[in-house]
Subunit: 288 residues, 2 copies
């Protein structure tokens, strides 16, 4: 019997040419296709949710595939983790409805952009954050980011190489935080090394959107732009108005929540729910 | 004029054959020798403080070297960081007394052993922690560790390949903590993925000592040993009484404090202090 299996996939994107398969390049999708095909003996092509860029990491991206294999759905995580390279790990696997498509669902995605703010780079942070020695004003960055919350045309925060039909997207929340938090004593003295995190939640993101937001907020943090500039950048609807695209290494897709629990739409459950329809999100499919 | 320079060195030990130079192997000491020699044009051989093992990381290890170069002491960090591979970064550099020796000083070293406790490995944690799916009882581990605090004969917690003359060492503190902390609700339900840290401070450590302590406390955490067993393991003075040596990847040398500030013993200051003698620690030199 043919079944559709959903995988939650975590990966270190450092050495991969991104999520989406590309001829002659090592990609997450390519490795998943090969590994699942090797396990079940079928010709598998997974459908990914978020096509993250080269060097971007994920704690939870989504991939689905169809199989005739008799392996129980929840056992795929164990069986695949034994075969996958250590840079990719399945965090969960279960059956979903035969017509479930991870890019045609209402979702909330959470991205984090990590900045290591210290005079010298820490080698243990180097692959999972962007290092800058310039002390960043985290409060100004957080204030600036609030202009981006809500439904806006994010054309200024989108790569010119986008193929999206519309550049309108909705950011649900954006918070910039630092560890350790800045105390009054630190304000007067030397600021210690800090981990700064830009955490953004939204229903969909454009190509490079989170990295351009990060690049712009970093400019605010070091005083090169005012927090108030961000509203003007949005209005410009011009990529050149925003800051640079921050490096891929700092970006992590941390969670992918389906507003309709995909567990509820697996075949057995579906009958109970009398063919409840899948909601279709208006947001585009090309992620960061 | 000949001067002795102290470097604070951070490194990702993943691909190195340890700190100490070895013929035909890439080591931290070897890379430092080469890089400093290339910068100053001298034949440099650094003296390291802690000879960490293959795969062990450091946020702050210490190396000193002598140079005739006219580069200002504080500029060595900048000049070397431009030449070093990204896995090694100098965090600070300054002049110390000509007879300053990092292994003949009273010091407090802090090590952390990191455990990622979750059903499946997180690829972003894989190089800097030890993964175990078995839920660990962090309170039991912390309780067990308290028997190790103080001056003891740690022969049971020392590699049989040690060259140390005595196996008596002093642990100043040992704490086992987890993030997120376990709540009453979690105790009744599924425990989420957790970062568990064993943090040990001491005046000196034997070969593999922190990793054998970690391996033993992990056995306590999964219920294979009782917290009370640790006192008996100490008394046995036999390596076979303790648990396994936990993998190198989880171990980080996080700080190295000289009880006498090395800044105070640099030549200029030394004259002021009228040839104050360096204290000599009784502890051995072979670190983890």
């Amino acid at each position: 019997m043919r079944r559709r299996i959903l995988l939650k996939v975590a990966y270190d994107g450092t050495r991969y040419a991104g999520f989406a398969r590309q001829p002659g390049q090592e990609t997450i999708e390519g490795v998943l296709d090969q590994t699942i095909s090797g396990l079940t003996g079928e010709q598998i092509r997974v459908i990914g949710a978020s096509r993250t860029d080269a060097g971007v990491h994920a704690l939870c991206n989504i991939a689905v595939f169809d199989t005739e294999s008799r392996i129980p759905p929840e056992k795929f995580s164990y069986a695949l983790n034994r075969r996958l390279p250590s840079r990719i790990r399945i965090q969960d696997s279960f059956e979903v409805a035969a017509d479930f498509h991870p890019r045609h669902c209402s979702t909330v995605k959470t991205y984090e952009y990590h900045i290591y703010n210290a005079e010298f780079e820490d080698p243990l942070h180097r692959m999972y954050s962007f290092h800058t020695w310039c002390p960043l004003d985290v409060e100004a960055m957080d204030r600036a980011g609030q202009a981006l919350v809500g439904e806006h045309d994010f054309k200024s925060f989108c790569s010119i190489y986008t193929q999206a039909e519309t550049t309108v997207r909705t950011i649900l929340s954006l918070h910039v935080t630092a560890k350790p938090a800045l105390t009054a004593a630190m304000r007067r003295g030397i600021i210690p090394p800090r981990d700064i995190t830009i955490r953004v939640q939204g229903t969909g993101f454009l190509y490079n959107m989170v990295r351009i937001i990060a690049g712009t907020l970093i400019e605010v943090g070091r005083g090169a732009r005012e927090p108030e500039d961000v509203a003007r950048i949005l209005q410009a609807r011009d990529r050149r108005a925003a800051g640079p695209t921050a490096p891929a290494a700092g970006l992590i897709l941390v969670s992918y929540q389906f507003l309709e629990d995909p567990h509820l739409v697996c075949p057995a459950e579906k009958e109970k729910e009398e063919k409840q329809e899948m909601p279709h999100a208006p947001s585009g499919t090309a992620g960061d």
